[in-house]
């Protein structure tokens, strides 16, 4: 074995440039695979985290028809009982009640449709981090009466700014059309320009006063200790209370759920493309190395080296190259992932396009240890598979090659 290792190791360095190129290909392949998967994972995770932490939360409760119809009279019937239940459940870290209805926003130049969200500032800040999206002016905790915060895109479309007034029109719980004049206290920018264009935020107490006589809430957002708890909590809520519909974030945002799945497929696809390119590179190099050594291998077979040993010798060359390349590649990839998971990859040039799609332009790659192991295993397996063919060709060499002229 030691002799085979020696001969294989020295064979590798017979053409240092060629072996270095192959090593570089393995390193680059592994690095690219890991970093690509990390970036896709990061994008997905950021999108999910953002959506959960800034808006959707882990679970929500609505009137069963509210999400489909959006009318103000489709409010949660037993709100206080539910919040009492939530208050006493250890799995719930925080929750916030929202008063929501669809309506119109009117500025001096334009009228457009929006979703008006009345929020409780204290519980909203405890539950989501939406307040961090304010880019101009103040959040709703300002002293301004009838304050509203609007999205940057909406402000641009309506040519309004902080300090201007807009009129919000909507149906109250009695089915009557109601209007209110609101002062723009702040402007927010979320990861999605679409969201920025279609949502405005006001204080829930001011909203409730305009909607009717009683306190109405259309949505309760719930944050849990762990995302995995969403399913069980939602099931329990639906069993415990009638006239409501509790849903997990995956049910509330199927497109987000689909994106996660799509991301998984993309990871497989990209990894496979990189690996197939790598496999052909290895195959080509190993075949070249083999064809150059036909006479030498013929000699080895002539003098009595078994075909199994020849096979092992060729495979060992690939294994040594793979292990060396994979080790360096995984170290570089880990360093890159560690660095960029803190510093982020700033894709400023794509910021506008990314925002329109609801993605952040600063990506923080993420990779689980299982994914590291899977990618490493895929690289090693692909490399070894690519070496099997040259090794089989090697053992089929006729010993008479040793005696050939030229």
């Amino acid at each position: 074995m030691k002799t085979l290792l020696t001969i294989s190791w020295r064979n590798i360095w017979r053409h240092p440039a060629r072996s270095s190129v192959l090593l570089a290909a393995i390193i680059a392949g592994l690095w690219a695979g890991v970093v690509t998967v990390g970036i896709i994972n990061g994008l997905m995770q950021q999108r999910i985290d953002y959506m959960i932490e800034s808006e959707i939360t882990h679970a929500q409760i609505h009137h069963p028809d509210f999400l489909a119809e959006g009318y103000s009279w489709l409010y949660i019937p037993n709100h206080d009982e539910i919040t009492n239940w939530l208050e006493n459940d250890e799995r719930v870290t925080s929750y916030t009640s929202r008063t929501i209805t669809d309506g119109m926003v009117q500025s001096p130049i334009k009228t457009s449709g929006v979703r008006i969200r009345g929020i409780n500032i204290e519980s909203e800040i405890r539950t989501t981090n939406f307040h961090e999206n304010i880019v101009e002016g103040e959040y709703l905790d300002s002293d301004i009466r009838n304050a509203v915060i609007i999205g940057q895109k909406l402000a641009k479309d309506h040519n309004v700014e902080v300090g201007n007034r807009i009129v919000l029109t909507f149906e109250d719980t009695g089915n009557e059309l109601t209007s209110g004049s609101f002062n723009i206290a702040g402007i927010f920018r979320s990861a999605s320009t679409d969201y920025d264009e279609r949502n405005v935020f006001i204080r829930s107490n001011e909203f409730i006063a305009l909607l009717g006589d009683e306190k109405v809430y259309h949505e309760i957002g719930i944050m849990l200790a762990d995302e995995e708890l969403a399913g069980p909590v939602v099931d329990e809520l639906n069993k415990a209370f009638t006239g409501i519909h509790a849903q997990t974030w995956r049910q509330l945002s199927p497109e987000l759920s689909m994106l996660v799945e799509l991301g998984g497929y993309m990871v497989i696809l990209i990894t496979m493309i990189i690996m197939i390119a790598l496999a052909f590179g290895i195959l080509n190099t190993m075949l070249m190395a083999l064809f150059e050594r036909m006479r030498e291998i013929g000699m080895l077979l002539s003098i009595g080296m078994s075909r199994l040993r020849v096979f092992n010798m060729i495979m060992l060359e690939s294994i040594i190259l793979t292990i060396t390349g994979a080790t360096v590649g995984i170290v570089l990839a880990t360093l890159s992932i560690n660095y960029f998971s803190d510093a982020g990859i700033n894709l400023e040039m794509f910021a506008e396009g990314a925002a329109q799609l609801g993605w952040d332009h600063i990506i923080y790659p993420v990779l689980s240890s299982t994914e590291y192991i899977i990618i490493l295993a895929v690289v090693v397996i692909i490399t070894l598979l690519a070496s099997v063919y040259p090794a089989i060709k090697g053992i089929r060499i006729n010993p008479l090659e040793a005696a050939k002229d030229g």
């Binding site: 020696t6 001969i7 006479r295 000699m299 009595g304 080296m305 008479l400 005696a403």
Partner: protein, 236 residues
Amino acid sequence: MAIVRTEKLSKVYNPDTVPVHALRDVSIEINEGEFTAVRGPSGSGKTTLLNMIGGLDKPTSGNVFINGQEISKMKDSKRIDFRLQNIGFVFQHYNLIPVFTARENVSFIMLLQKRDKKEIRQRADELLDQVGLGERKDARPVQLSGGQQQRVAVARALASEPKFILADEPTANLDTESAMNLLDIMEKMNREQNVTFVFSTHDQRVIDRAYRVITMVDGAIHKDEIKSPLEGRGVS
């Protein structure tokens, strides 16, 4: 008993298309201690005969016996092992392992035989001393001249303690001085250690030194001459 015996050995290439009769009913015996040259023009079948004797190729018909064992019917893996234990090879193009030193090249075959490491090193050094390369044991083939490389190849062929050594055109790529030097070494081993050599060659320098000269023409033995031992060793 003959070390090598062939019975009506025939080899036909392309039997179904354009048959080429490389060997026709060749029956010979080579005894221990012989210093035999197989001569003949290109295409006469001398290399094919050596390949059959060396178990590198299978005959179309006939048998090859080495030390009484029929090798042409052996399975490939068994034949490879048989070669390892019984036959030494010297090739025209030396065919040393380029990434190994002279000592490692000589040792390699003994490692394949799974011999004791200390013994391997000792024997490799002795053999390299015998072929006059005691000072170049750590040189790689690229650092050696053609003649020196062929001497390493002879040492390698001897390392496994084979029953005989087959040398295919061993001097074809060597200048006169290197060729004579190599022949001196092989002749000395034959004389002093009774090592059996079988050459295929059309090099007159080898033929002049051979004790027995088999001449082949068109795949058949045309002439089989046994010279007197002194004459065979170039002392006419």
